[in-house]
């Protein structure tokens, strides 16, 4: 159990690719941090730097009180769950779990005790004699988890551990990982590009873009107060609508005074738009319904705004009785507006 401190970490690959730039982050003991961002943003690189599988170009990495920049992966007291599970195909499940303990010269009764305990916890005790290829994807995933937790390491590192599972299993394993992490209280760093996974698992979320941290915060902080246009667009589905202030003014909408001066773009979440005026101060926009997309319990309305080429999306519950092509009047509460500055890409207030 330990805290992890990343101080101004940089990674430049041999070819000159700048994969991670100036990342600083303090991970508290027992905290579950989720690194999220689009493909190629440097999530895996950062995780692998913590694991010791990539060298650190510059900056300081501390696990607990130790600077571990130059330590081998084995000496860092971490365990990692790989995207492809990386189970040893020629070993039984038991030996897969025991391998790390054997290498560390644990006595054999202790190895058996730990492996059995972990296997029971993950409900893989029936498969201990099987080889990995005789297991289903979900079972392999559990074995990979088991291999990480028998070692009782200071920290768990996960690199998209659920991305090879089908949707249903992914949700189930997500819940189990969360419960397990809570129960064991082990500091965890979890990489994913799935924002739902990120929002549900994280104690704190780190949004990464192009090797740089865009925002750090609890899932609700990040969702309710995205710090940049990038975060606003990345977190939340369907993505937040962005409407230029100029456009709203040209349409004769009265913008609230509280918006900071440099605001030239306002963001509105699809579920903050409604067909009826809210009770508090509101803003209204007119458009035509282009497409009605039922999605089970809710529907997505794609609405064309006069004189704007970007459609906006609105989320309503149920399936409204509406015709495509019909004119629509939408309302949103002023308090729900997210003000941004287009040039800097940052939130203004």
């Amino acid at each position: 159990m330990a805290s992890i401190h990343l101080d101004n970490l940089h990674k430049v690959y041999a070819g000159g690719v700048q994969a991670v730039t100036g990342v600083s982050l303090d991970i508290k003991d027992g905290e579950m941090i989720v690194l999220v961002g689009p493909s190629g943003c440097g999530k895996s690189t950062l995780l692998r730097m913590v694991a010791g599988l990539e060298t650190i170009t510059s900056g300081t990495l501390k696990i607990g009180d130790r600077v571990v920049n130059n330590l081998e992966p084995a000496e860092r007291d971490i365990a990692m769950v790989f995207q492809n599970y990386a189970l040893y195909p020629h070993m039984t499940v038991f030996n897969n779990l025991a391998y790390g303990l054997k290498n560390r010269k644990f006595p054999s009764n202790e190895i058996t005790r730990r492996v059995t305990e972990a296997a029971k916890m993950l409900e893989i005790d029936a498969f201990l004699d099987r080889k990995p290829r005789q297991l289903s994807g979900g079972q392999r995933q559990r074995v990979a988890m088991g291999r990480a937790l028998v070692r009782e390491p200071a920290a768990f590192l996960f690199d998209e551990p659920l991305s090879n599972l089908d949707a249903k299993l992914r949700v189930q394993m997500r819940v189990e990982i969360k419960q397990l992490q809570r129960r064991l209280g082990t500091t965890s760093l979890y990489v994913t590009h799935d924002q739902l996974e990120a929002l549900t698992l994280a104690d704190r979320l780190v949004v990464l873009n192009g090797g740089v941290i865009e925002q750090v915060g609890t899932p609700m902080e990040v969702y309710n107060k995205p710090a940049s246009l990038f975060v606003a667009g990345f977190i939340g589905s369907p993505a937040m609508n962005m409407i230029p202030v100029e456009y709203l003014q040209a349409q004769g909408a009265t913008l609230p005074e509280i918006l900071p001066d440099e605001t030239d773009l306002v963001g509105i979440r699809p579920d903050e738009l409604s067909l009826n005026p809210p009770s508090d101060a509101s803003l209204s926009v007119k458009g035509t319904l282009m497409l009605l997309e039922p999605a089970g319990a809710e529907s997505h309305l794609y609405i064309h705004l006069e004189g704007s080429d970007q459609p906006i999306v609105m989320r309503v519950s149920g399936v409204p009785q509406m015709q495509e092509g019909q004119a629509i009047q939408m309302y949103t509460s002023v308090a729900a507006l997210h003000p941004f500055n287009k040039a800097s890409g940052r939130r203004t207030g």
Binding site: G52, P73, A74, F82, N84, A86, P89, G100
Partner: protein, 296 residues
């Protein structure tokens, strides 16, 4: 399974297309093989036709297996095949591991490593004959410097070493390519997982990499044994010619000497039949186990 069916306009065309392959097989394989089978149960006649060949049944085999020279040859073959296989596979694996660890010059090294395979066995033999020549060779000169008196014309150990080195050298390329491909097919994340699991470099190699290479290793083992037993005629003919005093007279070479030099066709044919049986067994082993994938 429905396979694609091709229709030929002329009904003789498919037979014509198959003919070259069939003729080559018949003339160079089936015919000599059946001749050997027949001759192995006959005692040859004399060169003047005074005494015709006589049927002797198993007699040729019985004589052969009682002959100390044949048993000696069997032992030499065993040592030679084992030595060649271990040496060529060991060196090839070492090279493959080293090249696999390179990042930039990997392709260049691979190309160089493959060259020896293109050298004809007889030429390779002559090359080694020069290098090891007790009078003019460079190696005996060097060995003398460290106090070893190399002479493969007098010492049977030296002779055996010479043919093992010469035969293994050529096979290293082939083994290297297979080992390299095998190494590259092992997911890197396995090695990384083992590193996190506290296994050092050597430990990782012996507990993860080597077991995962076992299908390749097994395949190469069979191929190398077959090579050493049957495909090294040129090497031996160009270097030791089976000597000194039969020390390197391996089975294949003995067939040739007894048949064509000593003109004992009955015994030579019986030896060929035994070799044929060995090939068949090795081939069966290879197909049986390679198909089934070893170990995992």
């Amino acid at each position: 399974m429905q396979t694609k069916r091709t229709t030929f306009s002329n009904r003789w065309l498919p037979y014509a297309l198959l003919a070259p392959q069939v003729i080559v097989t018949l003339v160079f394989f089936i015919w000599p093989a059946s001749q050997a089978l027949i001759q192995s149960v006959y005692r040859q006649g004399d060169a003047f036709g005074v005494r015709p060949p006589t049927f002797v049944g198993w007699r040729n085999f019985e004589t052969l297996l009682a002959e100390p020279q044949y048993l000696g040859s069997l032992k030499a073959t065993f040592i030679f095949a084992l030595g060649t296989t271990i040496l060529s596979m060991g060196v090839a694996l070492l090279f493959a591991v080293m090249v696999n660890r390179m990042i930039r010059s990997r392709d260049a090294y691979t190309t160089f490593m493959v060259w020896p395979y293109a050298v004809a066995p007889a030429i390779a033999g002559v090359l080694w004959w020069f290098i090891f020549n007790p009078n003019i060779g460079i190696l005996p000169y060097v060995l003398e410097g460290i106090g070893y008196d190399w002479n493969h014309r007098a010492s049977s150990t030296d002779a055996m070493l010479l043919i093992i080195i010469a035969a293994a050298w050529k096979q290293i390329s082939y083994n290297f390519l297979f080992f390299l491909a095998g190494l590259q097919s092992i997911p890197h994340s396995l090695i990384e997982a083992a590193a996190i699991d506290g296994a050092g470099r050597m430990k990782r190699f012996w507990t993860i990499v080597f077991p995962l290479l076992s299908p390749v290793t097994f395949f190469l083992m069979v191929v190398n044994i077959v090579y050493a037993m049957f495909d090294t005629f040129g090497v031996i003919h160009a270097t030791t010619e089976g000597g000194p005093s039969q020390a390197t007279n391996i089975l294949v070479y003995k067939v040739f000497r007894d048949g064509f030099v000593n003109l004992n066709t009955g015994s030579s044919a019986a030896q060929s039949v035994i070799l044929m049986a060995i090939v068949i067994v090795l081939t069966v082993i290879q197909f049986r186990y390679i198909e089934r994938r070893v170990n995992y």
